[in-house]
């Protein structure tokens, strides 16, 4: 099972006593504001959790894997996530037997 927006809203309701509508709205706003900042060419740095970093890639040659035809892969901007120290350490300690 994966953690979803509904689970996050539920935990705001349980932990902070926000009502369900407020909790749901807050979760939506949280992800929307991070997305908006990234969409407005801002890196997003959330200490303790990690940084969402934008990287610009120049155009490079690519190939259609089916036809072998050469097509350029256009210049693009991508989001990468760099986990913070705290998160990295906590995850490293995870000794789950199942590989994700």
């Amino acid at each position: 099972m994966a953690l979803t927006k509904a689970d996050l809203a539920e935990s705001l309701y349980e932990e902070l006593g926000l009502n369900k509508r407020e909790a749901k709205e807050l979760v939506e706003l949280f992800f929307e504001e991070v997305r908006a900042a990234l969409g407005d060419a801002n890196h997003v740095k959330l200490s303790g959790f990690g940084n969402f970093i934008l990287r610009d890639k120049t155009e490079r040659p690519g190939r259609n894997p089916k036809t072998g035809e050469e097509i350029p892969i256009s210049a693009r901007r991508v989001v990468t996530f760099r986990p913070g120290q705290k998160l990295k350490q906590r995850v490293e300690a995870y000794a789950g037997s199942e590989q994700q």
């Binding site: 099972m1 994966a2 953690l3 979803t4 927006k5 689970d7 996050l8 935990s11 705001l12 932990e15 902070l16 926000l18 407020e22 709205e25 807050l26 979760v27 706003l29 949280f30 992800f31 504001e33 991070v34 997305r35 908006a36 900042a37 990234l38 969409g39 407005d40 060419a41 801002n42 890196h43 997003v44 740095k45 959330l46 200490s47 303790g48 959790f49 990690g50 969402f52 934008l54 990287r55 610009d56 210049a75 693009r76 901007r77 991508v78 989001v79 990468t80 996530f81 986990p83 705290k86 998160l87 990295k88 906590r90 995850v91 490293e92 300690a93 995870y94 789950g96 199942e98 994700q100």
Partner: protein, 106 residues
């Protein structure tokens, strides 16, 4: 990254302010608690091996790094490094598209 605009960062405090401004029923202090609580919940989830899936934003999962041998840079002694998990983020479609559009807009 030479683009000047990419030197901009939004930190947690600014995120909290922006969220506060977008809604009326919660005080800044409550939004601050909520944001911290959300990040803690997400960290806990990953720390116990549970994936996170946020539609329109992306998913977080763990990637396994197999054990390898490395070297102590000071002494040159070889040391064996155990396998470990690292967090990985895969942006969702909407986020990818918005970020690509920001490049087009310049």
């Amino acid at each position: 990254m030479t683009d000047e605009s990419l030197e901009k960062s939004m930190m947690k405090s600014e995120l909290i302010e922006r969220i506060s401004r977008k809604q009326t029923h919660l005080a800044y202090k409550d939004v601050e608690l909520a944001v911290k609580s959300l990040l803690a919940r997400m960290s806990n989830s990953l720390s116990t091996g549970e994936r996170i899936e946020i539609r329109g934003f992306g998913s977080f999962s763990l990637h396994f790094r197999p054990p390898r041998s490395g070297r102590n840079p000071k002494t040159g002694d070889s040391v064996s490094l155990p396998g470990k998990y690292v967090p990985h983020f895969k942006p969702g479609k909407e986020l990818r598209e918005r970020v690509i559009d920001s490049l087009k807009k310049g």
